[in-house]
């Protein structure tokens, strides 16, 4: 009976829902990874240990294009650096120390952050974090393996339209950020895309995306961010801006 009442708690329900839905995207990752030239073992290794979808897709995108592996790794790390920001927020809510924190850090991604920060108190935040992490993590690894093994047996994966899955996943992550942040963010996005496209024919794959990150420097221009932050706090606390993520 305890399990039944646990399943009914909103923290567990949120975690299960988002975990199952996003875990299925692992199918697309497994497929794309093997198509890029990774072995199924390498694909599952990334899902289990790197465990941050956008970075994984960015890395295999560079490998698929035959680009510089160093640029691919740097791009993946730069993209993974947003998890540092999530970690800062989460540690405040979860208040775990020592070995628990070492273990929990592995689970710091877009989805666990969104579900955890949406909870009203520390107990449900901890429950939500653990549920989302465990459910999403196991689905992600298992579906990566399924996608990888299936792709090994199929000759032409372009017939399944999987080359559109990468852009769709990045779009899903970008979309809520554009909606929340207004004009300057759209400018950063446009410049980032423009820089990457303009340099793609001349630089090894992976490098144009790294170069595009410099468009983010625009965020440092303009009015003093302190005034912006306090303006935004009246309508919408600026601290919560990047909680809403692509799922």
């Amino acid at each position: 009976m305890k399990i039944l009442s646990l399943l009914r708690s909103p923290a567990v329900r949120d975690g299960l829902g988002i975990g199952v839905a996003v875990g299925v995207a692992g199918l697309a990752f497994g497929t794309a990874a093997v198509a890029a030239g990774l072995s199924p073992a390498q694909a599952v290794f990334l899902s289990a240990f790197m465990f941050t979808g956008a970075s994984q897709f960015a890395l295999i995108g560079v490998i698929a294009g035959g680009g510089s592996l160093v640029a691919g790794a740097l791009g993946a790390l730069l993209l993974g650096a947003r998890n540092t920001l999530y970690g800062l927020r989460l540690t405040d809510v979860l208040q775990w120390r020592g070995m628990r924190r070492v273990a929990a850090a592995h689970g710091v991604i877009d989805e666990t952050t969104a579900v955890t920060l949406a909870q009203p108190d520390r107990v449900s935040a901890r429950t939500a974090f653990v549920t989302t992490y465990v459910v999403l993590g196991s689905f992600w690894a298992a579906t990566t393996l399924m996608g990888a093994l299936a792709t090994e047996r199929v000759n032409d994966i372009s017939a399944f339209g999987l080359d559109a899955v990468g852009p769709a996943i990045f779009l899903g992550l970008l979309w809520p950020r554009l909606r929340d942040e207004g004009g300057r963010t759209r400018l950063i996005a446009l410049l980032g895309a423009g820089v990457a496209l303009a340099t793609t024919p001349f630089l090894p794959p992976g490098v144009p995306v790294l170069l595009a990150a410099s468009a983010a420097l625009i965020a440092l221009l303009g009015p003093d961010p302190k005034t912006i932050a306090s303006d935004a706090n009246e309508k919408d606390p600026s601290m919560d801006r990047n909680e809403e993520v692509g799922s």
């Binding site: 995108g61 790794a73 800062l88 559109a164 899955v165 779009l171 990457a196 983010a216």
Partner: protein, 104 residues
């Protein structure tokens, strides 16, 4: 396999970035410049990745693939309609596969 060192190094780096956030002093989050830059970097990277992957051609060349662009368009439409993440991804694949089957 020559890929393994890169995969392992990147995985370790990604973990350390996560751990650094959990172990760093809380006041870092109060630095407005740092926060502003940290929110902007993923936007620039994601937009660049969308553009480059959507228009990927042979080697380093860019190419327009009508079927793939139809799939990306379907993803945008799904996002406008506030569809869940999974629907966005599946719509992109299904529309691309469908357009390709129709000969685009």
């Amino acid at each position: 396999m020559t890929l393994w060192p890169v995969l392992i190094a990147t995985a370790v780096g990604c973990y350390l970035l996560k751990y650094a956030g959990m172990a760093a002093p809380r006041r870092l989050l109060d630095n407005p410049w740092l926060r502003r830059f940290a929110i902007a970097v993923p936007v620039a990277l994601l937009a660049a990745l969308i553009a480059v992957e959507a228009l990927r051609g042979q080697g380093q060349a860019l190419a327009w693939d009508t079927a793939r662009m139809a799939g990306v368009g379907a993803a945008v439409l799904a996002l406008i309609l506030r569809a869940p993440f999974l629907v966005v991804v599946v719509a992109a694949a299904v529309v691309t596969a469908g357009s390709r089957a129709l000969g685009f």
